[in-house]
Amino acid sequence: MGGLTSLIDALGRAVLRSVEEMGRIILLFFSVMGWMFRPPLRLRNIFKQMEFVGVRSIFVVVLTGMFTGMVMALQGYHGFRMFSAESMVGATVALGMTRELGPVLTSLMVTARAGSAMAAEIGTMKVTEQVDALYVMAANPVQYLIVPRIIAGVVMVPFLTIVSDFVGILGGYFVGVELLNINAGVFMKNITKLVELSDIFNGLIKAACFGLILSLVGCYKGFNTTGGAEGVGRATTEAVVLASITILISDYFLTALMF
């Protein structure tokens, strides 16, 4: 009986902690919204973060997008062949990439690359009193550190998703048409017939939401770091885990709403 009580107690505490953390992240979001539209507009910081989140993630996004498209074509071909419907491979790859895999995989890659770096960088600044130094010099850290990263996440993840969608379909084309000899015309025709503009557009909205999640969680974890180098390591890990889980859960609800 005592064991059961302590289990429920521990479970209750974990739930309370999670709800409290979610509340704090939402409060940070409102604070970011408040500071985003106040002068000065720190364009230099914003472009620096956009370069870090966007330009420097292109290679990893191209690689994951390309191979995902290729493997989808390969798997799809073997499945569709059973029904003599190989011509559907192109459309399946294109729909899968634009609606789902493009935004989700891109966001997870950017979370691992840039979300973790946001937590580590801001976390280090926190434990070495650089965040306090910003306050002391009358520069608000939310405006100076977090707003540019949020803007970069929301703007650049959709751009990276466009790249991922494109190279994914290209990878699917290469495997389907070049390696598995599906007719190129049929492959392309089914894509244009079945993929609508709204599929691409909704995928990009998802990507923007995921960009917000990964940057907000990364900044939140960094901003609340305590306990020196160990604390920075913990914050970084927690940022990647929490952002990835939140992206996957919110993906379901966004999909349910959009499609």
Binding site: T128, E129, D132, A133, M137, N140
Partner: protein
């Protein structure tokens, strides 16, 4: 003038400030002494509004900063400069960019004027020509001096020092002490220094305040503090483990 009135601050069950009262006068250096972990840094953070007290008031030139919103507090903070314990230089910026940071944020100056002030401040702390270096390339003492150059860049009236000589060798300690004395004199600053380095305390302080168990138990000139018969102060100055201050 800075007045701390009946300040209370607790972290969980640990009461750090327990009704602290202290008046810091303009144009002189007040050193706050006390044991490590005794709340000195917490006190300093209250003076500049980085922490809010559970109870009590912090008056800067008669304005209670505990009641101000972010924007009003930022205006008050422009009167302050602060040298952090580890200097807290932005490690993504060069030394020159660090010193220029408060100028770029708050002073409407041309780039050439900003560069002139940066050169001037770095020369004032004895580090001419290091503008292009990164903070990671500097020694601990140099970082503190750059931190001081940044703290006085905007020509503040009040400068706070959080353990400015901790971790420095005796020669560098004396160099930093001399710098604090000279900077205070040249810029007519009100300085608040937190320290438990006895050599430095009497070298730089016009007034010394002893923080013990959350309150100021003595406040006076260095001579008055040295002549004090209070057993806590006697033990602290003697560096003895025998006495009312318990070693934990």
């Amino acid at each position: 003038m800075i007045e701390l009135i009946d300040l209370h601050k607790s972290f969980g069950k640990n009461q750090v400030l327990a009704g602290l009262n202290l008046t810091i006068e303009d144009g002189m250096t007040t050193v706050i002494i006390g044991r490590s972990g005794g709340g000195k840094s917490v006190l300093l953070k209250h003076i500049i509004g980085l922490m809010k007290p559970d109870r009590g008031r912090v008056l800067v030139d008669g304005v209670d900063i505990t009641r101000l919103n972010d924007r009003e507090l930022n205006e008050i903070r422009k009167k302050f400069g602060m040298l952090f314990q580890e200097a807290a230089l932005f490690d993504s910026m060069t030394v020159g960019e660090n010193v220029a940071f408060p100028l770029r944020e708050h002073a409407r100056l041309k780039e050439t004027e900003i560069r002139g002030i940066v050169t001037d401040r770095l020369r004032a702390v004895g580090l001419p020509g290091v503008e292009e270096k990164m903070p990671a390339e500097l020694s601990g003492g140099m970082r503190k001096r750059v931190g001081l150059a940044r703290a006085i860049a905007l020509h503040p009236r009040i400068v706070l020092f959080d353990e400015p000589t901790t971790g420095l060798d005796p020669v560098m300690t004396e160099a930093v002490n001399q710098l604090i004395v000279a900077t205070q004199k040249n810029f007519q600053l009100t300085c608040v220094v937190i320290s438990h380095d006895l050599q430095s305390i009497f070298r730089i302080g016009h007034k010394i305040a002893m923080l013990y168990e959350g309150v100021i138990i003595a406040h006076g000139t260095p001579e008055e503090i040295q002549a004090s018969r209070d057993p806590v102060i006697r033990q602290f100055l003697a560096g003895s483990i025998e006495g009312p201050i318990r070693v934990m």
